[in-house]
Amino acid sequence: MHVPDGFISAPWSLATGVVAAGAVALALRGARRELDDRTAPLAGLVATFVFAGQMVNFPVAAGTSGHLLGGTLAAVLVGPWTATLCLTVVLLVQALLFADGGLTALGTNITLMGVIGVWVGYAVFRLAARALPRPRARQRPVVPLAAGIGGFVSVPAAAAGFALLFAIGGSAPIALSTLMSAMVGVHLAIGLGEAVITALVVGSVLAVRPDLVHGARGLVSAPVLVTHGGTAR
C-alpha cells in the first residue's frame, strides 16, 4: 500500500508530513512507558519482521496481491507507541533505499500505515479481547484471535484513509465513493491475509515468551522472572 510521489498534492503531502512528525514525536514519549530492558530487544525484532513480511506479496484475486502491513502485529507485541516508531523506521528505509513509497509521500505512508494501521488495529484488538468469551482455563487463544481481528480491520481502515486523502488532495478527479469502494473492497481481501499472519505470529510469540507480549498483559498470566533486583513480572 505504499503511496508513490505524484498521487497526493504538495500541500496535502505537507499536511500528512506534519501529522506524521507529530505522531512520531508523541510516540517517542509514549514508547518510554512500553519499553524497558526486557522488552526493548523485541522492538528491533518486530520492525525487522514487519520489513521482511512486507516483502512477501500474497495473491488475493486475479492479477492483484497484498502484503502484510504489520501495524497491528507490532502494536500487540510491543505496544502501539513503539509500533508507530517501528513502522516509521520500516517506511523510512523503504522510501530512502528501496524507492518503495515516495519521498514526499513518506508522511502519507507513515500516517496511513504507522498511525491509522497501528491505532485502529490496536483499538479493535483491545475491544475484541474484551468482548470475546474467555473461559478461565483457556485464556491464551483470546489474544491471537483478537489480534487477528484487529489486523483484519486495520487494512481496510488504512485503505479508507487513502481514499479520503485522495478525495481532498489527489492528483485525479475521482469520486470519493468510487475510490472508497474500490480501495476498501480489495483491502478487505488483503485484510484476511493480515489477520492470519497477525494471529499466527502473535500466537507463536505467546507460546515462547508470553511475558513479553504487550497486548497480553492482564490477559495471560506471565511466568515470574527472578532478577537480582527482586521479582519482576
Binding site: 514508547a31 525487522t48 516483502m55 506479496n57 496481491s65 485525479a172
Partner: protein
C-alpha cells in the same frame, strides 16, 4: 525460570535464544519465502491502474532492490535503527 541480569543490560542466554530464533525467521522470510512472493500489483497499485491514477506516479531511483542480498542489507539497517531507537527511549533498570 530464573535468570540473572545483574548490572548488565545484555539479554541472558534464555533471553537470547528466542531473539535469535525470531531473527532467523525474519531472515528466512526475507531470503527464501520472498522468492515465492506474487509479482502482481498490490491493492493500491491495482486500484490506481483501474482508475487512471497510476500514470501520475513519479518513481525515484532505488539504491537497493528487494532481490537477493540487498534485501538483507535493508533488513540489517531496520534492525540496527529500531534497536538503537528503542534502546535509547526505554525506561532503564526495570
Amino acid at each position: 525460570m530464573s535468570r540473572s541480569t545483574g548490572l548488565s543490560t545484555a539479554p541472558s542466554r534464555a533471553g537470547r535464544s528466542w531473539w535469535l530464533l525470531g531473527l532467523g525467521v525474519a531472515l528466512l522470510i526475507a531470503g527464501v519465502v520472498s522468492r515465492f512472493a506474487s509479482s502482481a500489483p498490490d491493492g493500491l497499485e491495482r486500484v490506481a491502474e483501474d482508475h487512471g491514477i497510476a500514470a501520475n506516479a513519479v518513481e525515484h531511483h532505488a539504491l537497493l532492490s528487494y532481490d537477493g542480498s540487498s534485501a538483507l542489507v535493508g533488513l540489517g539497517i531496520v534492525l540496527v535503527l529500531t534497536s538503537a531507537l528503542s534502546w535509547a527511549v526505554r525506561t532503564r533498570g526495570r
